[in-house]
Symmetry: C2
Subunit: 310 residues, 2 copies
Protein backbone atom coordinates (compact mmCIF):
# COMPACT_ATOMS: atom_id res chain seq x y z
CA UNK A 1 0.00 0.00 0.00
CA UNK A 2 1.44 3.32 -1.12
CA UNK A 3 0.99 6.32 1.18
CA UNK A 4 0.36 9.63 -0.56
CA UNK A 5 -0.26 13.17 0.58
CA UNK A 6 -2.69 14.86 -1.80
CA UNK A 7 -2.80 18.68 -1.83
CA UNK A 8 -6.03 20.20 -3.12
CA UNK A 9 -6.27 23.89 -4.04
CA UNK A 10 -8.75 26.17 -2.26
CA UNK A 11 -10.10 27.24 -5.65
CA UNK A 12 -11.50 23.73 -6.18
CA UNK A 13 -13.71 24.29 -3.13
CA UNK A 14 -16.11 27.07 -4.04
CA UNK A 15 -16.90 30.61 -2.90
CA UNK A 16 -19.91 30.10 -0.67
CA UNK A 17 -21.58 27.28 1.17
CA UNK A 18 -23.92 26.03 -1.56
CA UNK A 19 -21.23 26.41 -4.23
CA UNK A 20 -18.78 24.52 -2.02
CA UNK A 21 -21.15 21.61 -1.40
CA UNK A 22 -21.52 21.20 -5.18
CA UNK A 23 -17.83 21.72 -6.05
CA UNK A 24 -16.66 19.35 -3.33
CA UNK A 25 -18.90 16.58 -4.69
CA UNK A 26 -16.87 16.75 -7.91
CA UNK A 27 -13.52 17.28 -6.22
CA UNK A 28 -13.79 14.13 -4.09
CA UNK A 29 -14.38 11.80 -7.06
CA UNK A 30 -10.78 11.81 -8.35
CA UNK A 31 -9.53 11.60 -4.75
CA UNK A 32 -11.61 8.51 -4.03
CA UNK A 33 -10.31 7.03 -7.30
CA UNK A 34 -6.84 7.26 -5.74
CA UNK A 35 -8.13 5.33 -2.72
CA UNK A 36 -9.68 2.81 -5.10
CA UNK A 37 -6.27 2.42 -6.80
CA UNK A 38 -4.97 1.18 -3.46
CA UNK A 39 -3.35 4.36 -2.17
CA UNK A 40 -3.57 5.46 1.44
CA UNK A 41 -4.54 9.10 1.05
CA UNK A 42 -3.83 11.94 3.48
CA UNK A 43 -5.65 15.01 2.21
CA UNK A 44 -4.37 18.57 2.58
CA UNK A 45 -6.21 21.55 1.15
CA UNK A 46 -6.06 25.29 0.59
CA UNK A 47 -8.48 27.84 2.06
CA UNK A 48 -7.77 31.14 0.27
CA UNK A 49 -11.30 32.07 -0.87
CA UNK A 50 -12.90 30.50 2.22
CA UNK A 51 -10.80 32.14 4.94
CA UNK A 52 -11.18 35.37 2.96
CA UNK A 53 -14.96 35.02 3.17
CA UNK A 54 -14.88 34.30 6.92
CA UNK A 55 -12.46 37.16 7.60
CA UNK A 56 -14.66 39.50 5.53
CA UNK A 57 -17.82 38.53 7.43
CA UNK A 58 -16.24 39.35 10.80
CA UNK A 59 -14.55 42.48 9.46
CA UNK A 60 -17.84 43.75 8.01
CA UNK A 61 -19.90 42.97 11.08
CA UNK A 62 -17.25 44.51 13.34
CA UNK A 63 -17.21 47.68 11.25
CA UNK A 64 -21.00 48.14 11.21
CA UNK A 65 -21.75 47.18 14.79
CA UNK A 66 -19.80 46.96 18.00
CA UNK A 67 -21.86 43.93 18.99
CA UNK A 68 -19.66 41.46 17.20
CA UNK A 69 -15.99 41.18 18.09
CA UNK A 70 -12.98 41.47 15.84
CA UNK A 71 -11.78 38.00 14.88
CA UNK A 72 -8.02 37.32 14.66
CA UNK A 73 -6.75 35.69 11.49
CA UNK A 74 -5.57 32.37 13.04
CA UNK A 75 -9.09 31.88 14.47
CA UNK A 76 -10.57 32.57 11.00
CA UNK A 77 -8.24 29.84 9.73
CA UNK A 78 -9.46 27.42 12.41
CA UNK A 79 -13.05 28.16 11.38
CA UNK A 80 -12.19 27.55 7.73
CA UNK A 81 -10.74 24.14 8.62
CA UNK A 82 -14.03 23.22 10.31
CA UNK A 83 -16.14 24.60 7.46
CA UNK A 84 -14.16 23.01 4.61
CA UNK A 85 -13.45 19.81 6.55
CA UNK A 86 -17.15 19.27 7.21
CA UNK A 87 -18.01 19.44 3.50
CA UNK A 88 -14.98 17.41 2.40
CA UNK A 89 -15.40 14.60 4.94
CA UNK A 90 -19.12 14.46 4.26
CA UNK A 91 -18.67 14.21 0.47
CA UNK A 92 -15.72 11.80 0.73
CA UNK A 93 -17.70 9.46 2.96
CA UNK A 94 -20.61 9.41 0.49
CA UNK A 95 -18.31 8.78 -2.48
CA UNK A 96 -16.44 6.02 -0.59
CA UNK A 97 -19.76 4.36 0.29
CA UNK A 98 -20.98 4.70 -3.31
CA UNK A 99 -17.89 2.74 -4.37
CA UNK A 100 -18.28 0.15 -1.62
CA UNK A 101 -15.13 1.32 0.15
CA UNK A 102 -15.00 1.07 3.94
CA UNK A 103 -12.63 3.88 4.93
CA UNK A 104 -13.69 6.35 7.61
CA UNK A 105 -12.89 10.02 7.16
CA UNK A 106 -11.81 12.61 9.71
CA UNK A 107 -10.91 16.27 9.74
CA UNK A 108 -8.21 17.13 12.26
CA UNK A 109 -7.99 20.77 13.33
CA UNK A 110 -4.29 21.31 12.69
CA UNK A 111 -1.79 23.83 14.02
CA UNK A 112 1.44 24.27 12.07
CA UNK A 113 4.45 25.66 13.87
CA UNK A 114 6.42 28.46 12.23
CA UNK A 115 9.67 30.08 13.37
CA UNK A 116 9.16 33.48 14.97
CA UNK A 117 12.52 34.45 13.46
CA UNK A 118 11.39 33.48 9.95
CA UNK A 119 12.50 36.40 7.71
CA UNK A 120 8.96 36.41 6.22
CA UNK A 121 7.77 38.22 9.36
CA UNK A 122 10.04 41.15 8.45
CA UNK A 123 8.44 41.44 5.04
CA UNK A 124 4.71 40.54 5.05
CA UNK A 125 3.41 40.14 1.52
CA UNK A 126 0.14 38.20 1.70
CA UNK A 127 -2.88 40.53 1.33
CA UNK A 128 -6.03 39.73 3.31
CA UNK A 129 -9.34 41.53 3.80
CA UNK A 130 -10.86 44.57 2.16
CA UNK A 131 -9.41 47.77 0.75
CA UNK A 132 -9.63 50.86 2.97
CA UNK A 133 -8.85 54.56 2.66
CA UNK A 134 -5.66 55.98 4.19
CA UNK A 135 -7.40 57.26 7.34
CA UNK A 136 -8.95 53.89 8.17
CA UNK A 137 -5.70 52.13 7.29
CA UNK A 138 -3.82 54.38 9.73
CA UNK A 139 -6.41 53.71 12.42
CA UNK A 140 -6.08 49.92 11.96
CA UNK A 141 -2.32 50.22 12.27
CA UNK A 142 -2.67 52.23 15.48
CA UNK A 143 -5.51 50.21 17.06
CA UNK A 144 -4.77 46.69 15.90
CA UNK A 145 -1.14 46.76 14.81
CA UNK A 146 -2.08 45.77 11.27
CA UNK A 147 0.48 46.29 8.53
CA UNK A 148 -1.38 48.07 5.71
CA UNK A 149 0.07 48.51 2.23
CA UNK A 150 -1.12 50.60 -0.69
CA UNK A 151 -2.32 48.69 -3.72
CA UNK A 152 -2.22 50.51 -7.06
CA UNK A 153 -5.30 52.78 -7.05
CA UNK A 154 -7.53 50.45 -5.02
CA UNK A 155 -6.56 51.74 -1.57
CA UNK A 156 -4.90 50.18 1.46
CA UNK A 157 -5.06 46.56 2.41
CA UNK A 158 -3.73 44.48 5.28
CA UNK A 159 -0.79 42.18 4.60
CA UNK A 160 0.45 39.27 6.73
CA UNK A 161 3.61 37.19 6.56
CA UNK A 162 3.90 33.87 4.75
CA UNK A 163 6.43 31.95 6.88
CA UNK A 164 7.67 28.41 6.16
CA UNK A 165 6.20 25.49 8.12
CA UNK A 166 8.69 23.94 10.58
CA UNK A 167 6.53 21.38 12.40
CA UNK A 168 2.99 20.02 12.64
CA UNK A 169 1.63 20.15 16.19
CA UNK A 170 -0.89 17.33 15.67
CA UNK A 171 1.55 15.04 13.80
CA UNK A 172 1.20 12.09 16.22
CA UNK A 173 -2.59 12.31 15.91
CA UNK A 174 -2.34 12.20 12.12
CA UNK A 175 0.05 9.22 12.32
CA UNK A 176 -2.41 7.28 14.52
CA UNK A 177 -5.24 7.95 12.12
CA UNK A 178 -3.25 6.87 9.07
CA UNK A 179 -2.11 3.76 10.93
CA UNK A 180 -5.75 2.92 11.72
CA UNK A 181 -6.55 3.11 7.99
CA UNK A 182 -8.61 6.29 8.08
CA UNK A 183 -8.63 8.99 5.42
CA UNK A 184 -7.38 12.11 7.20
CA UNK A 185 -8.04 15.71 6.20
CA UNK A 186 -5.37 17.93 7.73
CA UNK A 187 -3.22 21.12 7.47
CA UNK A 188 -6.25 22.89 5.98
CA UNK A 189 -5.20 26.22 4.49
CA UNK A 190 -1.60 25.36 5.31
CA UNK A 191 -2.53 24.93 8.99
CA UNK A 192 -3.24 27.41 11.77
CA UNK A 193 0.11 29.24 12.12
CA UNK A 194 1.52 29.12 15.66
CA UNK A 195 4.87 29.97 17.23
CA UNK A 196 6.34 28.10 20.17
CA UNK A 197 6.98 29.84 23.49
CA UNK A 198 8.02 27.32 26.14
CA UNK A 199 5.13 24.87 26.54
CA UNK A 200 2.75 27.14 24.65
CA UNK A 201 1.81 27.51 21.02
CA UNK A 202 0.59 31.00 20.19
CA UNK A 203 -1.43 31.81 17.06
CA UNK A 204 0.07 34.41 14.74
CA UNK A 205 -1.59 36.27 11.86
CA UNK A 206 0.10 34.63 8.88
CA UNK A 207 -0.62 32.43 5.88
CA UNK A 208 1.39 29.25 5.44
CA UNK A 209 1.46 28.20 1.81
CA UNK A 210 -0.66 25.04 1.56
CA UNK A 211 1.80 23.38 -0.83
CA UNK A 212 4.69 23.95 1.59
CA UNK A 213 2.56 22.67 4.49
CA UNK A 214 1.64 19.61 2.40
CA UNK A 215 5.32 18.99 1.57
CA UNK A 216 6.20 19.28 5.28
CA UNK A 217 3.39 16.86 6.15
CA UNK A 218 4.53 14.42 3.44
CA UNK A 219 8.12 14.67 4.71
CA UNK A 220 7.26 14.18 8.41
CA UNK A 221 4.94 11.24 7.63
CA UNK A 222 7.64 9.95 5.26
CA UNK A 223 5.07 9.01 2.64
CA UNK A 224 5.93 7.66 -0.79
CA UNK A 225 4.47 10.42 -2.85
CA UNK A 226 3.28 14.02 -2.77
CA UNK A 227 0.50 14.75 -5.26
CA UNK A 228 -0.25 18.41 -5.89
CA UNK A 229 -3.57 18.81 -7.70
CA UNK A 230 -4.23 22.01 -9.56
CA UNK A 231 -6.02 23.43 -12.62
CA UNK A 232 -3.39 22.47 -15.24
CA UNK A 233 -2.54 18.94 -16.31
CA UNK A 234 1.24 19.44 -16.53
CA UNK A 235 3.96 21.87 -15.48
CA UNK A 236 4.83 24.13 -18.41
CA UNK A 237 7.96 26.05 -19.37
CA UNK A 238 8.00 29.14 -21.57
CA UNK A 239 4.38 29.53 -20.46
CA UNK A 240 2.23 31.59 -22.84
CA UNK A 241 4.94 31.91 -25.49
CA UNK A 242 5.33 30.13 -28.86
CA UNK A 243 7.95 27.91 -27.12
CA UNK A 244 5.51 26.73 -24.43
CA UNK A 245 6.23 23.11 -23.57
CA UNK A 246 4.71 20.57 -21.19
CA UNK A 247 7.07 18.73 -18.86
CA UNK A 248 6.46 15.01 -18.30
CA UNK A 249 9.19 14.70 -15.71
CA UNK A 250 11.91 16.76 -14.10
CA UNK A 251 14.66 16.06 -11.62
CA UNK A 252 15.24 18.32 -8.63
CA UNK A 253 18.52 19.44 -10.19
CA UNK A 254 16.71 20.59 -13.34
CA UNK A 255 14.21 22.44 -11.15
CA UNK A 256 16.85 24.85 -9.82
CA UNK A 257 17.87 25.79 -13.34
CA UNK A 258 14.28 26.25 -14.52
CA UNK A 259 13.48 28.39 -11.47
CA UNK A 260 16.53 30.58 -12.07
CA UNK A 261 15.40 31.01 -15.69
CA UNK A 262 12.10 32.39 -14.35
CA UNK A 263 9.76 29.78 -15.87
CA UNK A 264 7.37 29.55 -12.92
CA UNK A 265 4.93 32.18 -11.73
CA UNK A 266 5.33 33.39 -8.15
CA UNK A 267 2.24 32.60 -6.05
CA UNK A 268 1.11 30.08 -8.67
CA UNK A 269 3.34 27.30 -10.08
CA UNK A 270 6.50 28.37 -8.25
CA UNK A 271 5.43 27.32 -4.71
CA UNK A 272 4.18 23.97 -6.10
CA UNK A 273 7.52 23.31 -7.78
CA UNK A 274 9.42 24.39 -4.66
CA UNK A 275 7.21 22.26 -2.41
CA UNK A 276 7.70 19.25 -4.69
CA UNK A 277 11.46 19.76 -4.59
CA UNK A 278 11.45 20.19 -0.80
CA UNK A 279 9.72 16.81 -0.34
CA UNK A 280 11.58 14.85 -3.03
CA UNK A 281 15.04 16.04 -1.98
CA UNK A 282 14.50 14.61 1.53
CA UNK A 283 14.94 10.95 0.51
CA UNK A 284 16.18 9.07 -2.51
CA UNK A 285 13.08 7.24 -3.73
CA UNK A 286 10.49 9.96 -3.22
CA UNK A 287 8.30 11.21 -6.08
CA UNK A 288 6.09 14.25 -6.41
CA UNK A 289 3.41 14.67 -9.05
CA UNK A 290 1.84 17.92 -10.19
CA UNK A 291 -1.35 17.26 -12.15
CA UNK A 292 -4.89 18.42 -12.68
CA UNK A 293 -7.54 17.34 -10.18
CA UNK A 294 -9.62 15.70 -12.93
CA UNK A 295 -6.73 13.57 -14.16
CA UNK A 296 -5.30 12.60 -10.76
CA UNK A 297 -5.84 8.88 -11.35
CA UNK A 298 -4.30 8.97 -14.83
CA UNK A 299 -1.36 10.95 -13.48
CA UNK A 300 -0.66 8.32 -10.81
CA UNK A 301 -0.72 5.67 -13.53
CA UNK A 302 1.96 7.69 -15.34
CA UNK A 303 -0.22 8.75 -18.27
CA UNK A 304 -0.22 12.48 -17.56
CA UNK A 305 0.96 15.08 -15.05
CA UNK A 306 4.52 16.08 -14.29
CA UNK A 307 6.69 13.77 -12.15
CA UNK A 308 9.43 15.25 -9.99
CA UNK A 309 12.15 12.85 -8.87
CA UNK A 310 15.76 12.82 -7.73
CA UNK B 1 -7.89 3.03 33.36
CA UNK B 2 -11.37 4.52 33.58
CA UNK B 3 -12.84 6.03 30.41
CA UNK B 4 -14.93 9.16 30.91
CA UNK B 5 -16.82 11.51 28.63
CA UNK B 6 -16.61 15.04 30.01
CA UNK B 7 -19.20 17.58 28.82
CA UNK B 8 -18.16 21.21 29.14
CA UNK B 9 -20.68 24.07 28.81
CA UNK B 10 -20.29 26.69 26.08
CA UNK B 11 -20.52 29.39 28.75
CA UNK B 12 -17.16 28.27 30.16
CA UNK B 13 -15.60 29.22 26.80
CA UNK B 14 -15.99 32.97 26.47
CA UNK B 15 -17.74 35.44 24.20
CA UNK B 16 -14.97 36.52 21.87
CA UNK B 17 -11.59 35.28 20.79
CA UNK B 18 -9.42 36.96 23.46
CA UNK B 19 -11.95 36.17 26.19
CA UNK B 20 -12.05 32.55 25.03
CA UNK B 21 -8.27 32.15 25.04
CA UNK B 22 -8.23 33.32 28.69
CA UNK B 23 -11.30 31.36 29.83
CA UNK B 24 -10.11 28.16 28.17
CA UNK B 25 -6.78 28.37 30.02
CA UNK B 26 -8.76 28.06 33.28
CA UNK B 27 -11.27 25.52 31.97
CA UNK B 28 -8.60 23.03 30.91
CA UNK B 29 -6.95 22.87 34.35
CA UNK B 30 -9.66 20.76 36.05
CA UNK B 31 -9.91 18.63 32.91
CA UNK B 32 -6.18 17.87 32.92
CA UNK B 33 -6.52 17.02 36.64
CA UNK B 34 -8.92 14.27 35.55
CA UNK B 35 -6.26 12.98 33.14
CA UNK B 36 -3.72 13.18 35.99
CA UNK B 37 -6.07 11.09 38.16
CA UNK B 38 -5.69 8.33 35.58
CA UNK B 39 -8.87 8.85 33.58
CA UNK B 40 -9.00 8.58 29.82
CA UNK B 41 -10.90 11.72 28.91
CA UNK B 42 -13.06 12.28 25.83
CA UNK B 43 -14.09 15.94 25.81
CA UNK B 44 -17.43 17.21 24.51
CA UNK B 45 -18.40 20.86 24.67
CA UNK B 46 -21.19 23.35 24.03
CA UNK B 47 -21.06 26.21 21.52
CA UNK B 48 -24.11 28.40 22.26
CA UNK B 49 -22.42 31.81 22.58
CA UNK B 50 -19.80 30.95 19.95
CA UNK B 51 -22.05 29.69 17.16
CA UNK B 52 -24.30 32.65 17.96
CA UNK B 53 -21.37 34.99 17.37
CA UNK B 54 -20.42 33.32 14.08
CA UNK B 55 -24.02 33.25 12.86
CA UNK B 56 -24.38 36.93 13.78
CA UNK B 57 -21.23 37.92 11.88
CA UNK B 58 -22.47 36.28 8.67
CA UNK B 59 -26.02 37.55 9.17
CA UNK B 60 -24.79 41.11 9.69
CA UNK B 61 -22.39 41.08 6.79
CA UNK B 62 -25.03 39.51 4.53
CA UNK B 63 -27.54 42.19 5.50
CA UNK B 64 -25.20 45.14 4.90
CA UNK B 65 -23.54 43.92 1.73
CA UNK B 66 -24.33 41.42 -0.94
CA UNK B 67 -20.63 40.60 -1.20
CA UNK B 68 -20.70 38.03 1.55
CA UNK B 69 -22.96 35.01 1.28
CA UNK B 70 -25.58 33.80 3.70
CA UNK B 71 -24.13 31.03 5.86
CA UNK B 72 -26.33 28.04 6.76
CA UNK B 73 -26.50 27.11 10.43
CA UNK B 74 -24.82 23.66 10.18
CA UNK B 75 -21.81 25.35 8.51
CA UNK B 76 -21.70 27.91 11.35
CA UNK B 77 -21.60 24.93 13.73
CA UNK B 78 -18.71 23.38 11.81
CA UNK B 79 -16.84 26.70 12.05
CA UNK B 80 -17.50 26.84 15.80
CA UNK B 81 -16.01 23.35 16.22
CA UNK B 82 -12.84 24.53 14.49
CA UNK B 83 -12.70 27.78 16.45
CA UNK B 84 -13.37 26.28 19.89
CA UNK B 85 -11.38 23.11 19.18
CA UNK B 86 -8.30 25.14 18.23
CA UNK B 87 -8.32 27.01 21.55
CA UNK B 88 -9.18 23.93 23.62
CA UNK B 89 -6.58 21.62 22.05
CA UNK B 90 -3.95 24.34 22.26
CA UNK B 91 -4.61 25.06 25.95
CA UNK B 92 -4.98 21.37 26.85
CA UNK B 93 -1.64 20.55 25.23
CA UNK B 94 0.11 23.32 27.19
CA UNK B 95 -1.46 22.23 30.49
CA UNK B 96 -0.60 18.57 29.83
CA UNK B 97 3.02 19.53 29.08
CA UNK B 98 3.15 21.73 32.19
CA UNK B 99 2.21 18.65 34.22
CA UNK B 100 4.66 16.39 32.40
CA UNK B 101 1.85 14.39 30.79
CA UNK B 102 2.43 12.95 27.32
CA UNK B 103 -1.07 12.79 25.82
CA UNK B 104 -1.67 14.28 22.39
CA UNK B 105 -4.85 16.23 21.75
CA UNK B 106 -7.07 16.33 18.69
CA UNK B 107 -10.26 18.04 17.64
CA UNK B 108 -12.42 15.92 15.35
CA UNK B 109 -14.97 17.77 13.23
CA UNK B 110 -18.03 15.74 14.15
CA UNK B 111 -21.38 15.20 12.45
CA UNK B 112 -24.23 13.84 14.56
CA UNK B 113 -27.08 12.08 12.84
CA UNK B 114 -30.63 13.02 13.75
CA UNK B 115 -33.91 11.45 12.61
CA UNK B 116 -35.72 13.50 9.97
CA UNK B 117 -38.96 12.24 11.54
CA UNK B 118 -37.95 13.51 14.99
CA UNK B 119 -41.07 15.32 16.31
CA UNK B 120 -38.79 18.25 17.25
CA UNK B 121 -38.78 19.26 13.56
CA UNK B 122 -42.56 19.86 13.79
CA UNK B 123 -42.07 22.23 16.72
CA UNK B 124 -38.83 24.22 16.49
CA UNK B 125 -38.10 26.01 19.76
CA UNK B 126 -34.42 26.96 19.77
CA UNK B 127 -33.96 30.68 18.98
CA UNK B 128 -30.92 31.75 16.95
CA UNK B 129 -29.76 35.06 15.50
CA UNK B 130 -31.04 38.60 15.89
CA UNK B 131 -34.48 40.09 16.41
CA UNK B 132 -36.18 41.55 13.32
CA UNK B 133 -39.35 43.47 12.56
CA UNK B 134 -42.38 41.69 11.08
CA UNK B 135 -41.63 42.76 7.52
CA UNK B 136 -38.07 41.38 7.57
CA UNK B 137 -39.25 38.25 9.37
CA UNK B 138 -41.81 37.63 6.62
CA UNK B 139 -39.17 38.19 3.96
CA UNK B 140 -36.82 35.65 5.62
CA UNK B 141 -39.64 33.11 5.74
CA UNK B 142 -40.37 33.65 2.06
CA UNK B 143 -36.76 33.85 0.82
CA UNK B 144 -34.98 31.42 3.11
CA UNK B 145 -37.73 29.28 4.58
CA UNK B 146 -36.85 30.40 8.11
CA UNK B 147 -39.38 29.83 10.86
CA UNK B 148 -39.68 33.14 12.70
CA UNK B 149 -41.48 33.50 16.04
CA UNK B 150 -42.47 36.59 17.98
CA UNK B 151 -40.70 37.15 21.25
CA UNK B 152 -42.49 39.30 23.84
CA UNK B 153 -41.91 42.91 22.71
CA UNK B 154 -38.43 42.30 21.25
CA UNK B 155 -39.57 41.39 17.72
CA UNK B 156 -39.24 38.29 15.58
CA UNK B 157 -36.46 35.77 15.79
CA UNK B 158 -35.57 32.60 13.93
CA UNK B 159 -36.14 29.28 15.68
CA UNK B 160 -34.71 25.86 14.76
CA UNK B 161 -35.50 22.37 15.98
CA UNK B 162 -33.62 20.60 18.75
CA UNK B 163 -33.79 16.94 17.71
CA UNK B 164 -32.30 14.02 19.65
CA UNK B 165 -28.96 12.54 18.53
CA UNK B 166 -29.30 9.06 17.03
CA UNK B 167 -25.74 8.34 15.84
CA UNK B 168 -22.28 9.85 15.57
CA UNK B 169 -20.95 9.77 12.02
CA UNK B 170 -17.27 9.89 13.06
CA UNK B 171 -17.64 7.30 15.86
CA UNK B 172 -15.01 4.89 14.46
CA UNK B 173 -12.55 7.77 14.19
CA UNK B 174 -13.14 8.71 17.83
CA UNK B 175 -12.72 5.05 18.88
CA UNK B 176 -9.35 4.84 17.10
CA UNK B 177 -8.14 8.01 18.78
CA UNK B 178 -9.20 6.87 22.24
CA UNK B 179 -7.58 3.49 21.62
CA UNK B 180 -4.33 5.24 20.65
CA UNK B 181 -4.40 7.09 23.99
CA UNK B 182 -5.14 10.54 22.64
CA UNK B 183 -7.36 13.14 24.28
CA UNK B 184 -10.18 13.71 21.80
CA UNK B 185 -12.37 16.80 21.52
CA UNK B 186 -15.59 15.87 19.73
CA UNK B 187 -19.36 16.51 19.27
CA UNK B 188 -18.65 20.24 19.72
CA UNK B 189 -21.92 22.13 20.20
CA UNK B 190 -23.75 18.78 20.18
CA UNK B 191 -22.30 18.00 16.75
CA UNK B 192 -23.15 19.22 13.24
CA UNK B 193 -26.74 17.95 12.78
CA UNK B 194 -27.18 15.79 9.69
CA UNK B 195 -29.92 13.52 8.38
CA UNK B 196 -29.25 10.36 6.40
CA UNK B 197 -30.49 10.00 2.81
CA UNK B 198 -29.11 6.82 1.26
CA UNK B 199 -25.32 7.12 1.27
CA UNK B 200 -25.47 10.84 2.01
CA UNK B 201 -25.55 12.87 5.18
CA UNK B 202 -27.25 16.23 4.70
CA UNK B 203 -26.80 19.14 7.12
CA UNK B 204 -29.99 20.50 8.69
CA UNK B 205 -30.50 23.76 10.59
CA UNK B 206 -30.94 22.46 14.14
CA UNK B 207 -29.28 22.47 17.55
CA UNK B 208 -28.54 19.17 19.23
CA UNK B 209 -28.35 19.59 23.00
CA UNK B 210 -24.69 19.10 23.93
CA UNK B 211 -25.58 17.06 27.03
CA UNK B 212 -27.68 14.65 24.96
CA UNK B 213 -24.91 14.40 22.36
CA UNK B 214 -22.40 13.73 25.16
CA UNK B 215 -24.67 11.02 26.62
CA UNK B 216 -25.00 9.44 23.17
CA UNK B 217 -21.22 9.56 22.73
CA UNK B 218 -20.69 8.05 26.19
CA UNK B 219 -23.21 5.32 25.40
CA UNK B 220 -21.77 4.44 21.97
CA UNK B 221 -18.20 4.42 23.31
CA UNK B 222 -19.52 2.44 26.30
CA UNK B 223 -17.39 4.45 28.74
CA UNK B 224 -17.53 4.05 32.50
CA UNK B 225 -18.68 7.52 33.36
CA UNK B 226 -20.34 10.64 31.99
CA UNK B 227 -19.23 13.83 33.73
CA UNK B 228 -21.35 16.91 33.06
CA UNK B 229 -19.53 20.04 34.21
CA UNK B 230 -21.57 23.15 34.84
CA UNK B 231 -21.72 26.27 37.04
CA UNK B 232 -23.23 24.65 40.18
CA UNK B 233 -21.51 22.09 42.40
CA UNK B 234 -24.55 19.85 42.95
CA UNK B 235 -28.00 19.19 41.57
CA UNK B 236 -30.60 20.94 43.74
CA UNK B 237 -34.26 20.29 44.46
CA UNK B 238 -36.75 22.95 45.56
CA UNK B 239 -34.32 25.38 43.93
CA UNK B 240 -34.57 28.96 45.23
CA UNK B 241 -37.07 28.09 48.00
CA UNK B 242 -36.53 27.71 51.76
CA UNK B 243 -36.61 23.92 51.17
CA UNK B 244 -33.71 24.03 48.67
CA UNK B 245 -31.56 20.95 49.11
CA UNK B 246 -28.40 19.61 47.46
CA UNK B 247 -28.47 16.06 46.15
CA UNK B 248 -25.36 13.92 46.71
CA UNK B 249 -26.71 11.00 44.73
CA UNK B 250 -29.84 9.93 42.93
CA UNK B 251 -30.96 6.77 41.18
CA UNK B 252 -32.56 6.89 37.75
CA UNK B 253 -35.86 5.82 39.32
CA UNK B 254 -35.80 8.81 41.67
CA UNK B 255 -35.05 11.04 38.69
CA UNK B 256 -38.40 10.33 37.04
CA UNK B 257 -40.25 11.33 40.19
CA UNK B 258 -38.21 14.51 40.68
CA UNK B 259 -38.73 15.48 37.03
CA UNK B 260 -42.49 14.95 37.31
CA UNK B 261 -42.47 17.15 40.43
CA UNK B 262 -40.93 19.92 38.32
CA UNK B 263 -37.67 20.35 40.21
CA UNK B 264 -35.44 20.94 37.21
CA UNK B 265 -35.39 23.96 34.95
CA UNK B 266 -36.05 23.34 31.25
CA UNK B 267 -33.05 24.34 29.12
CA UNK B 268 -30.83 24.32 32.20
CA UNK B 269 -30.64 21.42 34.70
CA UNK B 270 -33.37 19.31 33.07
CA UNK B 271 -31.41 18.28 29.93
CA UNK B 272 -28.37 17.43 32.11
CA UNK B 273 -30.49 15.20 34.35
CA UNK B 274 -32.16 13.59 31.34
CA UNK B 275 -28.81 13.06 29.59
CA UNK B 276 -27.36 11.49 32.75
CA UNK B 277 -30.35 9.17 32.99
CA UNK B 278 -30.14 8.27 29.29
CA UNK B 279 -26.51 7.17 29.69
CA UNK B 280 -26.80 5.45 33.09
CA UNK B 281 -29.93 3.46 32.19
CA UNK B 282 -28.07 1.84 29.26
CA UNK B 283 -25.96 -0.52 31.42
CA UNK B 284 -25.94 -1.63 35.03
CA UNK B 285 -22.64 -0.26 36.33
CA UNK B 286 -22.64 3.12 34.66
CA UNK B 287 -22.36 6.35 36.66
CA UNK B 288 -22.98 9.95 35.72
CA UNK B 289 -21.74 12.93 37.70
CA UNK B 290 -23.05 16.47 37.55
CA UNK B 291 -20.61 18.88 39.17
CA UNK B 292 -18.99 22.27 38.83
CA UNK B 293 -16.05 22.64 36.47
CA UNK B 294 -13.82 23.92 39.30
CA UNK B 295 -14.54 20.90 41.51
CA UNK B 296 -14.39 18.22 38.82
CA UNK B 297 -11.49 16.38 40.46
CA UNK B 298 -13.11 16.45 43.92
CA UNK B 299 -16.38 15.25 42.40
CA UNK B 300 -14.68 12.25 40.82
CA UNK B 301 -13.14 11.43 44.21
CA UNK B 302 -16.69 11.41 45.61
CA UNK B 303 -16.29 14.54 47.75
CA UNK B 304 -18.80 16.73 45.91
CA UNK B 305 -21.10 16.79 42.88
CA UNK B 306 -24.21 14.69 42.34
CA UNK B 307 -23.84 11.02 41.34
CA UNK B 308 -26.50 9.40 39.20
CA UNK B 309 -26.59 5.59 39.29
CA UNK B 310 -28.96 2.71 38.73
Amino acid sequence: MRKIVVALGGNALGHNSQDQIEKVKHAVKPIVELVEQGNEVILAHGNGPQVGMINLAFETSYNVSNKNPDMPFPECGAMSQGYIGYHLQNALLTELKNKGLKQHVATIITQVEVDKNDPAFQNPTKPIGKFYDLETADRFTKEKGYIMVEDASRGYRRVVASPKPVNIVELEIIKSMVKAGHLVITVGGGGIPVIKEGNEFIGVPAVIDKDFASAKLADLLDVDMLVILTAVNKVKINFNTPEEKDLDSITIKEIDELISQGHFLKGSMLPKIEAAKMFVSGKKHRTAIIASLEEAKEALLGHTGTRITN
